[in-house]
Amino acid sequence: MDTSPISSWDDVSAFFTWGAESFGVWLFIILGVVLFVGMIAWAVKHENEMSEQICACVENGTIVVEGAAPAPAPSSDGVAAAAPAS
């Protein structure tokens, strides 16, 4: 693949692949942004799946949470119910 925007190193300024404002540069900017956004989207999906699995495991007792059995009925505002008897 010939990506060089120059034919000689004499009096060179910008010399990166394809050169400024070229189709190749645009293509890889778009590809980079898509991969960047895709990584975050993949992370959202992965977290949703793992959360479902962990919640299911806690519910059926496969995961026993140290110091929290029975679970302390947490609320989303971070206020814990009475500490479990140990």
Binding site: G19, G32, E47
Partner: protein
């Protein structure tokens, strides 16, 4: 002077300039390493790898964010609203300046320095959100903070043509406002929506002390951050190959900054040591508070004045942090809002009090208390409003925070197949256990049963 000598001198100047900022970026990376250790140590054992991974990915997100968006934002926003002029167009990622270019030895290294400044904003926020935020939500927040918001603040108040500089005479050489305050108040906005960690507050509103799983690592991390700050402050001056100026156009040198960097560090330690009554976590954080306290006027204070300003900042910091935790129920495990946000406020105001009357080098008003206070209010709003709004949207979408079951089981289970301590870590005696109160924490977040302490084996 012959043409050859002239060419040699110009080449030498260009090489010096590039190498100066190259080293700045390299040393600044220590800040990120330090934050990684800091928040890794501050996490409980079941969340450690998630915290470390979050910090690493902060760097991964923020660098392309600055390349694709942020560098343009910095160059387009000095006037307040975005302007598409020749300078800002040259900062777009597809132009001749945004890549290897033998006629432009500046853009690449400045991009590097700004990317690392941006990484610092992400790291500041990262530690405050540990143990409950989803990694994906964090990455979205880091993109917004590190790639856009702080750079608007930098364009407004950390740029020779920024409107806060030309209209209000704002002076903030060490970036207390655009980096520390914006990151701190952005984080506050996020924390309000995110809420405290499970178990942080009791039903009667009293706060529990959730201890770091590795306080020595946290303290080591802060020492790395201090080392990295010397690179950060290198990046806060403009080196032309012939001499130094501040970003505000006034002449300076590294010697001027060295005085107050070290005196600020020492003063912050002292103030926090006294203010926290010797609490190690706050005392070591005091060094950071001290450097931030003197940052705005770091190039002009007499070192003794910088020392006292830093002591005051360090002294206030643990008290303000305690107030945020107990009165306002803000669970900020590393004190980021206090250390960066509130100490940034103190830094800008202190500069208005103690450095008023210094002239502007770019045609704006002299330094004044009102100018500094005005800039401070702009930075508070510029940090807080986007943080609050974006976190609110993420919360509405249901992707801001993990479900309680995951949080209790440990974020490591959800985020990564890695585990930090597969063979366990030994427990050490807590102060309460030593006194016989039996209220220590075993690092897993649950109160240790009374009498459960076992002395470490010899």
């Amino acid at each position: 002077m012959t043409e050859q000598v002239q060419t040699a001198l110009e080449t030498q100047g260009a090489v010096n300039l590039e190498f100066f900022y190259w080293m700045s970026v390299a040393v600044m990376l220590l800040i990120h390493a330090g934050f990684l250790a800091y928040e890794g140590g501050a996490s409980r054992a079941k969340h450690v790898m998630a915290s470390l991974l979050k910090n690493v990915l902060s760097l991964a997100v923020v660098i392309p964010s600055v390349f694709f968006v942020g560098w343009f934002v910095y160059n387009a926003f000095p006037g307040g609203l975005p302007q598409l002029d020749e300078v800002s167009k040259a900062a777009l990622p597809w132009t001749a300046n945004s890549g290897p270019n033998l006629e432009d030895p500046v853009t690449g290294i400045f991009f590097g320095a700004f990317a690392l400044f941006a990484a610092t904003t992400g790291s500041i926020m990262s530690g405050a959100l540990i143990e409950r935020i989803r990694l994906s939500a964090f990455m979205i927040l880091v993109f917004c903070l590190g790639g856009v918001v702080w750079l608007i603040g930098a364009a407004w108040g950390w740029h020779g043509s920024g409107w806060l500089v030309t209209e209000l005479g704002l002076r903030d050489v060490g970036a207390a406002g655009c980096v520390h305050m914006i990151a701190g108040f952005f984080t506050l906005g996020v924390l309000i929506h995110l809420g405290p960690r499970i178990g942080k507050y009791n039903a009667d509103g009293t706060a529990n002390d959730i201890r770091p799983h590795n306080l020595p690592l946290t303290m080591f991390g802060l020492m790395l951050i201090f080392a990295g700050f010397f690179g950060f402050l290198m990046g806060c001056v403009v080196y032309s190959g012939e001499g130094y100026t501040t970003i505000f156009g006034s002449p300076t040198n590294l010697s001027a900054l060295m005085f107050n960097t070290l005196m600020g560090l020492a003063g912050g330690f002292i103030g926090a040591f006294v203010g926290s009554k010797g609490e190690a976590f706050w005392t070591v954080s005091g060094g950071l508070a001290g450097v931030i306290s003197v940052a705005a006027g770091i190039d002009i204070y007499h070192p003794a004045l910088g020392f006292v300003i830093a002591i005051a900042g360090g002294f206030m910091m643990p008290r303000l942090g305690g107030m945020l935790e107990r009165r306002f129920k803000i669970d900020d495990p590393v004190g980021a809002v206090t250390v960066h946000g509130l100490m940034g406020v103190w830094s800008l105001l202190a500069c208005g009090i103690f450095a008023a009357g210094y002239p502007s080098a770019v045609g704006g008003p002299d330094i004044s208390f009102l100018g500094q206070a005005g800039g401070m209010l702009v930075f508070v709003a510029l940090g807080f409003i986007p943080g609050y709004a974006i976190a609110g949207v993420l919360k509405l979408a249901g992707i801001l925070r993990y479900p309680p079951e995951v949080e209790i089981a440990g974020l490591d289970l959800a985020e990564t197949p890695s585990t930090a301590y597969p063979y366990g870590i030994p427990a050490t005696v807590t102060y309460e256990t030593f006194l016989g109160a039996g209220n220590g924490s075993n690092g897993g977040g649950a109160p240790a049963p009374a009498g459960s302490y076992r002395a470490p084996e010899a």
